[in-house]
């Protein structure tokens, strides 16, 4: 199941803060889709260290969309693959 977070109109450090909080809040099978104006390099490192996987693709409404899921959650991974295939 998808959780959508639009941080495209927020000032640093709010996008990073909210993205991390939303990632920590993910339940089993859930993934986070972050709508962002910029590619958030600092976020990636922290996500990696906190046990999350991520994938960034060009967005439709915003320049970037970042998909985030728990590395230990194969169901969420499948949901991300499915969303990206569409």
């Amino acid at each position: 199941m998808e959780r959508l977070l639009d941080v495209s109109e927020l000032e640093p450090c709010e996008p990073l803060e909210l993205s991390l909080a939303a990632a920590e809040d993910l339940g089993p099978g859930e993934y986070l889709r972050v709508l962002h104006r910029r590619e958030p390099f600092p976020l990636y490192r922290i996500l990696d260290d906190r046990g999350f996987a991520h994938r960034t693709v060009p967005g439709e409404r915003t320049a970037f969309e970042i998909f985030v899921w728990r590395r230990t959650d194969p169901e969420a991974r499948r949901a991300v693959d499915h969303a990206l295939d569409r």
């Binding site: 000032e11 991390l20 910029r38 590619e39 490192r45 922290i46 320049a63």
Partner: protein, 434 residues
């Protein structure tokens, strides 16, 4: 270095105090520039070659602008492009020490206090900036696919020309070589338009949309303006050094058009901010872009024969606008955001590495550095007083120098406050570990 992405490793990064040390030391050197101007007084504004003016100007341009810009490249390149500058842990301290001590030696040497220090300044700046340019050009080459990486590369290439000519001129001041004053304008142009201008341009492609929440720069601006500005400088230099006045005019008008277009684009983007909350960073950048527009207009007028930029008063107004109005304004505005951002990011990494996610609360950026509206007002006042001092001279020069010292001294205190709050939060994180 701070966490950026890709192959960056937190354990390979220098401690946060490496960049912060430079960011805090830089305003103190700028303040020394203000004190120098105040101490020398009207003689500093008597002509553009006045030793007191050259000393004060270099404390600001090398001691403040270059020290911050070097730190910004080392710290910001990884964050905005995901590419680290190789050897940052060693390059950072060597460069910072060379630039900071070199700026002081240069000022004492050319200012006439201790002329023998000109040579020491040349060596310190030559070594510090030499090490830096090799590392930064390597990093910028790896980040060349990114517009900011490319502009940073051109800016650092300009620094090679600035530093090379600067060290050559210093050797002239030291009496080791003949002093070629005719090369001063070439040194000045590459310093202001190449090193400062192109770096600000490249960094702004990232930090203006990011921190001021504006739309992104048009692709054509990101892709072509820095390269066109760099090409214009080369053409102007070739013309100036003997290839002929037509080339020189073509080159300088290209540079004027590039920076004029850049300033107008930035002001237009700022007028389309998505959240129009009052923000000292945005105000500082507006002041910077306004100053840049007036400065490039003066160069255009001079090229067309409508203004004599070699005359003392216009030359001083141009210098004040280009260095203090443009360079210092945008870099102070950038520091308002970058220092709390780096501090906050560092604390996030400490929390993650100690496995304390969700168990401790830290300050956010605005709590680490509340919007410094008062400081921006002091900066704008200092700029105004410098311009008044060019016209009225006399005691006004001393007052303007004092205002510059207050501006930079206040900035140092603000940044030290961020460091103090960062330490408090770090201590509370460590206390949670037990």
């Amino acid at each position: 270095m701070i966490p950026g992405g890709g192959d960056l490793r937190f354990d390979r990064m220098p401690p946060l105090w490496v960049p912060l040390r430079a960011f805090v030391a830089a305003p103190l050197l700028g303040a020394a520039g203000g004190v120098t101007l105040s101490a020398v007084g009207p003689a500093a504004f008597a002509q553009r070659w006045a030793p007191g003016l050259i000393a004060a100007a270099h404390l600001v341009t090398v001691g403040f602008l270059t020290l911050v810009m070097v730190g910004a490249i080392l710290q910001v390149l990884p964050v905005v492009t995901g590419v680290p500058v190789p050897g940052t842990r060693r390059v950072g301290p060597i460069t910072q020490l060379g630039v900071a001590l070199g700026a002081v030696a240069l000022a004492a040497g050319v200012g006439g206090t201790l002329p023998e220090l000109s040579g020491v300044g040349a060596v310190l700046l030559g070594v510090g900036l030499g090490v830096f340019t090799v590392a930064a050009l390597t990093g910028a080459w790896q980040a060349r696919r990114n517009p900011t990486g490319r502009a940073m590369g051109l800016s650092v290439a300009s620094l090679v020309a600035v530093a090379g000519l600067g060290v050559f001129l210093l050797a002239g001041h030291a009496g080791w070589l003949t002093l070629r004053r005719d090369l001063t304008d070439v040194h000045l142009a590459w310093a202001l338009a190449g090193w400062v201008g192109l770096l600000v341009m490249g960094v702004s492609f990232q930090v203006v949309p990011m921190f001021q929440v504006t739309p992104t720069y048009p692709k054509v601006v990101e892709r072509f303006l820095p390269a066109l500005g760099f090409a214009g400088l080369i053409v102007w230099t070739a013309g100036r050094l003997g290839a002929g006045p037509v080339l020189a005019t073509t080159g300088i008008l290209t540079v004027v058009a590039v920076f004029g277009a850049y300033a107008v684009t930035t002001l237009r983007l700022q007028s389309r901010r998505r959240r129009k909350l009052p923000d000292p960073t945005t105000d500082a950048w507006r002041l910077g872009m306004g100053s840049l527009l007036v400065a490039v207009s003066m160069v255009a007028a001079s090229t067309m024969g409508a203004l004599d930029l070699a005359a003392t008063a216009p030359a001083l107004v141009f210098g004040v606008l280009a260095v203090f109005g443009f360079g210092v304004s945008v870099i102070e505005g950038m520091l308002y955001k970058i220092v709390p951002f780096l501090s906050w990011l560092h604390l996030q990494n400490v929390i993650t590495s100690r496995d304390l996610v969700g168990r401790v609360k830290i300050r956010n950026m605005r709590q680490l550095l509340p919007p410094p509206r008062g400081h921006f007002t002091a900066h704008a006042a200092a700029l105004g007083m410098l311009l008044v001092a060019v016209v009225l001279r006399g005691f006004w020069v001393r007052l303007a120098g004092l205002a510059v010292a207050v501006d930079f001294g206040w900035l140092a205190l603000i940044l030290i406050g961020v460091v103090r709050r960062h330490r408090e939060d770090r201590r509370s994180i460590m206390a949670s570990v037990g």
